[in-house]
Point group: C2
Chain length 385, copies 2
């Protein structure tokens, strides 16, 4: 079967935006068309990754509105929701649309508009993805993160500082990303002394609430070659669920969705963890970067923190740079956009277009986590030039 | 490429249900597994067609909850939203998941829970799919239907009674569908004297607000043959948008999404309108049955009403029975479930399992309309036994 290529990408400024989600989607969509050199009338399928425009704005049907706004009618549209991994699910949907032969040119645009809500209102929308039995007891996503972090630190004898170092690293990377929400370095002391949110995790262990959009253009490799000599292919992709009721999992430090989707993506691509040159992981909470490093085979269980301490995941000096974009931590986390933006970063790295963030990479990986690992999508991308 | 087969189906009782959407999805999902003879652990992809569980219930992530409820973890899940055509979009997503080789066993479950809301609250959620510029002027979906119906009747010199006859026919068919919300015949006089909603359309020209769920099991034909000797294949499927701003369309009686998705489905299947033996059309409003008959080539523009008057679409005596299930009009319209339930009816007809509703059919078609034709999915199914 012919491979699926990515021939263009875009990302709006992330942060607090004076625009509705449709404006953000249109901005990213139009920029992606231009970046790929594709005419809107050639787009056959248009997927929109978005968790909750209805809840955030009282506006649904944004995928149909987008088709008209960017002049892509009568392209087929669909909204993809997989909560906080809607972006990764969108990549999988777009990949399937091309790989099945249904579309020879598919654009994926992910976006979310959140900052017009108070933090309480926004977290209420996000918390609606948890199981009612847990939600009613107040166990929201940050609570799960705090409980898991405490367990991890004690069980694996890891220092609290190792978690803070994830935040320090990702903030440092974000300084060089002009699209990131926060472009400022933070030191270890700042993280460790920030207000407690879910003990032992503090404010700087959490990603912010963000507005933003990102887009990718996908097509069969044979079509890609009509547009460009240099492109990226998706060599592996898979998604998997874990129990929706988080407390029913056997080991709180193992995210089954990460493990299973990673195994699927490695198998499909013929790659293994050692082949990965750069990765974007879903650092919604610092502890998640450890769990994904271990679930994806970059570290043994309970040992990811050592690699972080050793500088293994640093951008300029590490063996496996993680979250060169700044991650969700510094770049921001507009739910439906995040998984797409992860792939935009890897695309730019593989194309050699990452500017001051550039690392040496031929093979990259993204891992997008829905809920607290309730569903996870892992994607492996490779330079094809 | 190998064809995609349907090997099982299910549908819950439609109507006013004392259950949340997750309960309805689980009920349909478990019944579909049993009908197909498939173990939950063999389901690789699980798609949930649902427009608005967040808005209706304050509950999102239902696809992940469903995976656990029916014991399908770690199956990949995704929620498919295409407003009122979410069910049809789910069929397209499930088809792509199998046709792309990503999954050898995909279950699609569509569902919506609406009746706990007042009619005003429910229509507010539905109206959120329209363009704000039109919505602010009060032009909701029923208004579009009324305006279009008035235009159609005057332009094509069609009698008001012809629209009412759609409702009479579909109610008559629904009497024989034990899962339908309304199982009672209505006469022409009742329809014509029911309260005006959007002149010239009256209460009985509209489908009700409904709770319900429906499911399908899809797999490659080679896998289907391991499970059963008799199955159905999806021989053609396509989706297309029209302008999101309805008043910008050139001809209000032509739904471009219907025309384009129909052409795509016919071309893929090698079929034409004359080959279709039975069809489920999206009769959210009676006028829509005319527009789809014409857009899909069953009638010339402006002449569908004549076929209805002649009895061409009657179940037991007509040449092309339309909405043998009772249609949205009598069966009910739980948004995310409706497109799936249309395919469930065609599946049962092609399998010879439609009981008192059975017609003689080898090739069937479904047309699922999102918004006021903002996005439409047409599917052609054929008996493969």
């Amino acid at each position: 079967m012919e491979r699926v290529a990515i021939i263009g990408s875009s990302m709006t400024q992330f942060g607090q935006r004076d625009a509705w989600v449709l404006d953000l989607l249109s901005e990213a969509g139009l920029e992606c068309l231009e970046d790929a050199g594709v005419d809107a009338s050639d787009v056959e399928h248009l997927y929109v990754s978005n968790m909750a425009s209805g809840e955030f704005e009282g506006q649904t049907g944004v995928m149909n509105a987008l088709a008209q706004d960017i002049d892509a009618v009568p392209a087929y549209t669909q909204r993809v929701d997989q909560t906080s991994s809607s972006g990764g699910a969108g990549i999988y949907a777009a990949w399937q649309s091309v790989a099945s032969g249904a579309s020879d040119m598919t654009m994926l645009v992910g976006g979310e508009k959140m900052t017009h809500k108070t933090t309480g209102e926004a977290t209420d929308v996000i918390a609606s993805l948890t199981h009612p039995a847990e939600y009613k007891h107040g166990v929201t996503l940050p609570s799960f993160a705090g409980l898991t972090a405490r367990h991890y630190l004690e069980r694996f004898d890891a220092p609290r500082e190792s978690l803070a170092k994830v935040a320090v690293k990702n903030h440092k990377n974000g300084v060089d990303n002009p699209k990131a929400q926060f472009r400022k370095e933070v030191d270890l002391e700042t993280v460790l002394e920030s207000p407690i949110v879910a003990d032992p995790l503090r404010l700087y262990d959490f990603c912010p609430i963000t507005d933003g959009s990102a887009a990718l253009m996908l097509c069969p490799e044979s079509v890609a070659e009509e547009y460009t000599d240099e492109y990226v292919v998706i060599s592996g992709i898979d998604g998997a669920t874990d129990t929706h009721v988080v407390h029913e999992r056997e080991d709180p430090t193992v995210m089954r969705g990460v493990v299973e989707s990673g195994e699927g993506a490695y198998e499909m691509s013929g790659r293994d963890p050692d082949d990965i040159d750069v990765a974007e992981l879903h650092d919604m909470f610092t502890i998640l970067e450890f769990l994904q490093m271990e679930g994806l085979g970059f570290a043994e269980q309970g040992e990811a923190w050592k690699l972080v301490e050793e500088g293994y995941t640093e951008r300029d000096t590490g063996e496996l740079p993680i979250n060169t974009s700044g991650g969700l931590k510094s770049k921001g986390h507009p739910l439906g956009a995040s998984g797409v933006a992860q792939a935009v970063e890897i695309y730019e790295q593989l194309m050699g277009e990452a500017g001051p963030r550039q690392v040496d990479a031929d093979v990259g990986l993204t891992c997008n986590v829905g809920g607290f690992g309730n569903c996870v999508i892992t994607t492996i991308m490779e330079a094809a030039q």
